[in-house]
C-alpha cells in the first residue's frame, strides 16, 4: 500500500472514531447527573419541579437522550456546535477565542521538552551507567512522576512569591502575541514540558545506547572518525527515528495536556474552559472541546506514523 493510500485510509477512519467519541461523550455526560438547568436551580427553594421542567423545555433540554443527540448531530454536520446554555454564546466562538492561548502554551511546552530532552538523552547515552547518566535518569523519573499541578504551584511559589521574578497571574491585558508574553510562558511551559521532556529523554537515551552498540559504530570508530562526528552524524540520525515519532505523538498534548496547568496558572485557554464546562454541565461546550481534542489526537498519531515511514524507508504500511 502506498503511503498516500495509507494516509487517506487513516483520514477516513477519523469519521467512525469521532462518531464513537461523540456517542460515548454524549452518553457519559447524560449519565452523569445534572445539566445546566439543575446548576441554576439546584439549591433554590423557590424552584418547584414544574418550574424546572418549564425552564428545561425553554432551553431545549427536554426530550429523550437519543433525540437530543440526533438534533445535536444534525446541527454539528451543518457546522453549528450550539450555544453555551448559561451565557448564550456560540460554542465555536468560545473555542476559537480560547484555542490560541492553549496552542501557544502547549507549543511552548513541547518545544521546551525537546530542547531539554534531546541533548540530555545524548549525553546520558554517551556516558551510560556513569554518574551523569544516573542523575539524568533520576531526574527523568522524577519528571514523569511529579504531578504537574504540584510542579506548577511550586514554580509559582518560587518564581513569583519568593524570587518575585514572575507574577502569579499572567498579564491579562497583554495580547497573547506580545513578545513579553514569552517571558510569562516560561513557568507554565516548563510545567507542561517537564513530563514530555522526561519521556523523550528516556527514549533518546535508550535508542542511542542501542545504536552505539552496533557494528557500524565500531567500524566508524575504527576508521578513525572523531567521536563527535560518530555520535552526531551517524548515531544521532539513526536513533532519532523513535524520538521523532514520540515527539509527534506528543503534539497531541499541545491541545490536550494543559487542562490542569491552565487552572493553576490562570491561563485563559481551552483547558480551563473545559473544566468550567464540566462543572456547569455545559453539554455543547463539552462535546465540542472533546471532539476537537479527538481530531487533534488522531492527527498527531497519523503524523507520527507518516514520519516513521519517511524517516525509515524500510517501513511499509501493508
Amino acid at each position: 500500500m502506498s503511503l498516500r493510500r495509507f494516509i487517506l485510509k487513516r483520514l477516513l477512519s477519523i469519521v467512525p472514531i469521532l462518531f464513537g467519541v461523540s456517542v460515548i461523550t454524549f452518553g457519559l455526560v447524560h449519565l452523569t447527573p445534572g445539566d445546566p438547568i439543575s446548576q441554576m436551580t439546584a439549591m433554590n427553594p423557590h424552584m418547584t419541579a414544574a418550574d424546572e421542567a418549564q425552564m428545561r423545555s425553554r432551553y431545549g433540554l427536554d426530550g429523550p437522550v437519543w433525540e437530543q443527540y440526533l438534533t445535536w448531530m444534525g446541527n454539528v454536520l451543518t457546522g453549528d456546535f450550539g450555544e453555551v446554555i448559561s451565557s448564550g454564546q456560540d460554542v465555536s466562538s468560545v473555542i476559537l477565542a480560547r484555542l490560541p492561548e492553549t496552542i501557544v502554551l502547549g507549543l511552548f511546552g513541547w518545544v521546551f521538552g525537546l530542547v531539554i530532552a534531546i541533548p540530555t538523552g545524548i549525553y546520558a547515552a554517551v556516558n551510560k551507567d556513569q554518574f551523569a547518566d544516573t542523575v539524568s535518569r533520576f531526574v527523568a523519573l522524577s519528571g514523569i512522576s511529579i504531578p504537574n499541578f504540584w510542579l506548577g504551584l511550586m514554580l509559582i511559589l518560587i518564581g513569583a512569591l519568593w524570587l518575585e521574578i514572575w507574577t502569579v497571574l499572567p498579564p491579562s491585558r497583554l495580547p497573547l502575541y506580545h513578545p513579553q508574553m514569552l517571558f510569562y510562558l516560561i513557568l507554565p511551559g516548563i510545567t507542561i514540558g517537564t513530563a514530555a521532556a522526561a519521556s523523550i529523554m528516556r527514549v533518546m537515551r535508550t535508542s542511542m545506547a542501542e545504536e552505539l552498540n552496533k557494528e557500524y559504530v565500531t567500524a566508524a570508530r575504527a576508521k578513525g572518525l572523531p567521536e563527535r562526528q560518530v555520535i552526531l552524524k551517524h548515531v544521532l540520525r539513526n536513533s532519532l527515528i523513535s524520538v521523532v515519532t514520540l515527539a509527534a505523538t506528543l503534539t497531541a498534548s499541545i491541545v490536550a495536556g494543559s487542562v490542569v496547568v491552565e487552572v493553576v496558572f490562570n491561563w485563559p485557554g481551552l483547558g480551563r474552559e473545559f473544566i468550567e464546562a464540566i462543572n456547569q454541565r455545559e453539554i455543547n461546550l463539552i462535546m465540542a472541546i472533546t471532539l476537537f481534542t479527538g481530531v487533534f489526537i488522531v492527527l498527531a498519531n497519523l503524523l507520527a506514523d507518516i514520519l516513521y515511514a519517511v524517516l525509515d524507508p524500510r517501513i511499509r504500511y501493508e
Binding site: N44, P45, T48, R98, I156
Partner: protein, 645 residues
C-alpha cells in the same frame, strides 16, 4: 471513616458478618439497624451522606459520626457522592424512605423563613431542601402564618413572635440540626481603607465600596495603615484591583442566577431600595415608598381571572405567558390542565381591586441612566416585564402580582397575597433602561454588543471573557447630582461622599483559590474573597493584610429520616442533636471562621426572626449543646421502647 460508595458497601457486609447469627435487628427500609446482644455492640446504625467535593462538609460529617460512635449507641457509615449526583439523590421524593441522614448547605437571607421553611415545609419535599420528607401539618401552618396573612404583613412584632414559636417547636421536634453559620471574609492589603464585608457575596463590592445606610465607603491610600485612618482621612480617586472567583455568565440581571454574575452587575444596575447589613430597607432610586393597602386575599381569590392551560406529564405548561399565580388546588405535574393567572389578567384583578398588598414608590426626579434616559415609572414597569419568563421568574413571581405606572415618577407594585416579605421582595428588580428593556433574554451583554446601561455608580469600560473586567466611575451618577441630603433617612456625617470615591475598578477573574491568594500576596490585586479558611489564618497573622468578616447567610445542616423507625421518635432526634459537636466543628474544621448554630437563627435574620435574640439563645441553646449524658438518657428510653437492645 470517610469512604466512597463501593467501600461502604463492603464495610456493611463485614460488619454484618461480625455481628454474628445471634444478633437481633429491627427491620427498617434502610437496612440500617443492626446489633447483637454483646455489650460492646451499638444498637443503632446511622448512614450519613454528604457530597465529596466539599472538604469542610465531609470533615464535619466525619466529626459527627465520630461523636455518635463514641457515645457507644451508634455504628456509623458515611457515603459520599459527587455534588450533582448528590443533589439529585437527596432531592428525589423517594429518598426519605431510605432512612439516611444527609448533610447539605444552604444560603439564607434576611428572611427568617430561609432558615426553617426550605428545610421543613412539606411544599419543599422533592425539591430544595426538605430532603427527608418532613411532613408536619402543624409546622406547615406555623411557617405559612409567620410569613403570609394580614396579621404578620402589617405587624412586624406579631411576625417575630410567630417565629419565636417556630424556633421553640423545632427545638422540641428537631427534624434537622443546623450546625453552624458561615462567615464571609474579605481579605485585602493595607492600601484598602474603610471596606466592610457584606453578608452576601453578590453585594461584596456594591456594599463594600459605598453604603451610606451603614456609613461604609472604601478608599485607596498607600501611605497609611487602615488601622490608623478614619473617614476624615478619606482620599478620592485611585484604582481598586480585585480578584473575582468566577467569570460572570452574563451581565443580564434576569438571565443569571449565580453570585458570580450578580456581583459584577450590581455596580451598574440599581434597585428601588437598598438594605443595610441588618436587612433594614431604605428608599434608593425611590425617594420614598409606602405600604398603601393590605387586603385579606388568598391565591384562590384570583380564580375568576384565571385561564386554563394544558400541562404535559412533566408539568410544562402550554403557554408562552408568564405564570403569575397557579391555582392552589391545581398541580401542573398531576393535572392535565391548570388554572393560571398571567400578567394581563393580574392587571385586570388589580383594576378590580383584587390584590394582597399595594406598595407605592415615588421615584427621585432627575436620575439618569448612562445612556441619558431619565428614570421614570415606565422603566420600572418595563423592567418587571423583562423579568417575565426569565431565569429569575420563580423568585420574582414568588411575591409580585403586578407593576403599574401611576404617573411619570410614581409606580405601584402589588403583592399576590398579604406577605411579610413583600416589602423586600417586590423591589428586587434591577432597573433597566428602555433601550435595553426589550432585549431578548441573555442579549444584555457585551458579548452581544450590548454593554449594560444602568443608573449605578460605575460603567463597564472593558471586559475580556475569563480574564478581567474593568469599570470607570459614572461621571453623571445621580446621587452626586442630588446629594445625600435628599435622603431623609441618612443621618451620617455631613461630609460623607455622595457616591463611591474610587475612580477605576479592575477585577481579575481567578477561579483557583490558591492563585487568588498568591496574587494578593504578590501585590497583583488589592482585595479578594471566598478563600479557604486555612488560608485566612495565614493572612490574619500577617500585618500587611486586613480581613473583614461578617456572619453570612450560609449554613449547613443534617436532617433526620423522621419517616423511618426509630427516627420518628423525637427523643432519638434530640439525642443525636446533643451529639452534634457544633463547637468542635467550628474550631477544628472551619478554624473558627464560622459560628456554632446555638439557635436556628443567624444574626442577620434576627431583626425579623425573633422578639429578643438573647432570650431566644438562652431558651434554645440548651437543646443544642453538646451533651452526651442527656443524649444517653434519651437513647436509653428509645432503646427500651423499641426493644433495640
Amino acid at each position: 471513616m470517610v469512604q466512597d460508595h463501593k467501600q461502604s458497601s463492603i464495610d456493611i457486609d463485614r460488619r454484618r458478618l461480625l455481628q454474628g447469627a445471634g444478633g437481633v435487628s429491627i427491620a427498617a427500609v434502610a437496612g440500617c439497624l443492626g446489633g447483637d446482644d454483646g455489650d460492646d455492640d451499638a444498637p443503632i446504625h446511622v448512614q450519613l451522606e454528604v457530597n465529596s467535593d466539599n472538604d469542610d462538609r465531609v470533615q464535619m460529617v466525619d466529626l459527627i459520626a465520630t461523636s455518635l460512635e463514641e457515645s457507644g449507641y451508634f455504628t456509623t457509615e458515611i457515603d459520599t457522592y459527587e455534588f450533582n449526583d448528590y443533589t439529585q439523590r437527596v432531592m428525589d421524593p423517594e429518598y426519605a424512605e431510605n432512612g439516611y441522614v444527609p448533610c447539605i448547605g444552604l444560603s439564607g437571607t434576611f428572611n427568617p423563613e430561609s432558615f426553617c421553611q426550605a428545610l421543613h415545609h412539606s411544599d419543599n419535599i422533592g425539591q430544595c431542601c426538605n430532603l427527608n420528607g418532613i411532613s408536619d401539618a402543624d409546622l406547615d401552618q406555623m411557617l405559612d402564618d409567620a410569613r403570609y396573612g394580614v396579621d404578620v404583613a402589617d405587624d412586624d412584632e406579631e411576625r417575630r413572635e410567630r417565629y419565636d414559636e417556630i424556633w421553640e417547636y423545632l427545638a422540641e421536634e428537631r427534624y434537622s440540626s443546623i450546625t453552624h453559620f458561615d462567615l464571609q471574609a474579605g481579605v485585602m492589603n493595607t492600601n484598602v481603607h474603610g471596606f466592610r464585608q457584606n453578608p452576601f457575596t453578590e453585594s461584596t463590592f456594591e456594599y463594600g465600596l459605598y453604603a451610606p445606610q451603614d456609613e461604609v465607603v472604601t478608599w485607596i491610600d498607600e501611605d497609611a495603615h487602615p488601622d490608623e485612618t478614619d473617614l476624615s482621612d478619606l482620599e478620592e480617586g485611585g484604582t481598586l484591583r480585585g480578584g473575582l472567583t468566577e467569570d460572570p455568565e452574563l451581565f443580564d440581571p434576569p438571565y443569571t442566577t449565580g453570585a458570580n454574575s450578580t456581583i459584577v452587575q450590581v455596580l451598574i444596575f440599581e434597585q428601588l431600595v437598598v438594605s443595610d447589613s441588618e436587612g433594614n430597607l431604605y428608599p434608593w432610586l425611590a425617594e420614598d415608598y409606602e405600604l398603601v393597602e393590605t387586603q385579606d386575599v388568598d391565591r384562590a381569590d384570583y380564580e375568576e381571572y384565571m385561564i386554563e392551560v394544558d400541562a404535559d406529564e412533566e408539568g410544562v405548561l402550554d403557554t408562552d405567558e408568564q405564570i403569575v399565580v397557579t391555582h392552589p388546588e391545581d398541580n401542573p405535574i398531576e393535572d392535565d390542565t391548570v388554572r393560571v393567572l398571567t400578567p394581563e389578567q393580574a392587571g385586570d384583578a388589580v383594576d378590580d381591586g383584587t390584590f394582597g398588598m399595594q406598595f407605592q414608590y415615588e421615584l427621585h426626579e432627575g436620575i439618569e441612566f448612562t445612556n441619558g434616559e431619565e428614570l421614570t415609572a415606565e422603566h420600572v414597569v418595563a423592567t418587571a416585564e423583562r423579568y417575565e419568563n426569565s431565569d429569575l421568574e420563580a423568585q420574582t413571581y414568588d411575591s409580585l402580582l403586578y407593576a403599574e405606572e401611576v404617573d411619570e415618577y410614581t409606580v405601584n407594585l402589588y403583592a399576590q397575597i398579604p406577605d411579610a416579605e413583600a416589602e423586600r421582595e417586590l423591589p428586587g428588580l434591577y432597573i433597566h433602561s428602555l433601550e435595553q428593556a426589550e432585549l431578548e433574554g441573555g442579549e444584555l451583554d457585551p458579548g452581544a454588543d450590548n454593554d449594560p446601561i444602568g443608573t449605578g455608580p460605575y460603567e463597564l469600560s472593558d471586559y475580556s471573557e475569563g480574564q478581567y473586567i474593568e469599570y470607570t466611575k459614572n461621571d453623571g451618577y445621580w446621587l452626586e447630582e442630588i446629594g445625600l441630603e435628599s435622603k431623609e433617612w441618612f443621618d451620617g456625617p455631613e461630609d460623607f461622599p455622595n457616591g463611591p470615591v474610587i475612580d477605576e475598578l479592575e477585577f481579575e477573574i481567578v477561579p483557583d483559590d490558591s492563585s487568588r491568594a498568591g496574587a494578593l500576596q504578590s501585590d497583583e490585586i488589592d482585595i479578594t474573597y471566598g478563600l479557604a479558611t486555612g488560608v485566612l489564618d495565614d493572612f490574619e497573622e500577617d500585618d500587611d493584610y486586613v480581613i473583614d468578616s461578617v456572619e453570612a447567610g450560609g449554613y449547613e445542616y443534617i436532617q433526620y429520616p423522621m419517616n423511618v423507625e426509630p427516627w420518628d421518635d423525637e427523643r432519638l432526634r434530640r439525642a443525636v442533636n446533643h451529639l452534634v459537636p457544633r463547637q468542635e466543628i467550628v474550631d477544628n474544621v472551619l478554624n473558627g471562621w464560622a459560628r456554632p448554630a446555638w439557635t436556628d437563627l443567624p444574626e442577620l435574620a434576627e431583626e425579623n426572626g425573633t422578639t429578643d435574640a438573647d432570650a431566644l439563645e438562652e431558651n434554645i441553646r440548651p437543646h443544642n449543646e453538646y451533651d452526651p449524658e442527656a443524649a444517653a438518657e434519651l437513647i436509653e428510653e428509645v432503646i427500651d421502647d423499641y426493644d433495640l437492645d
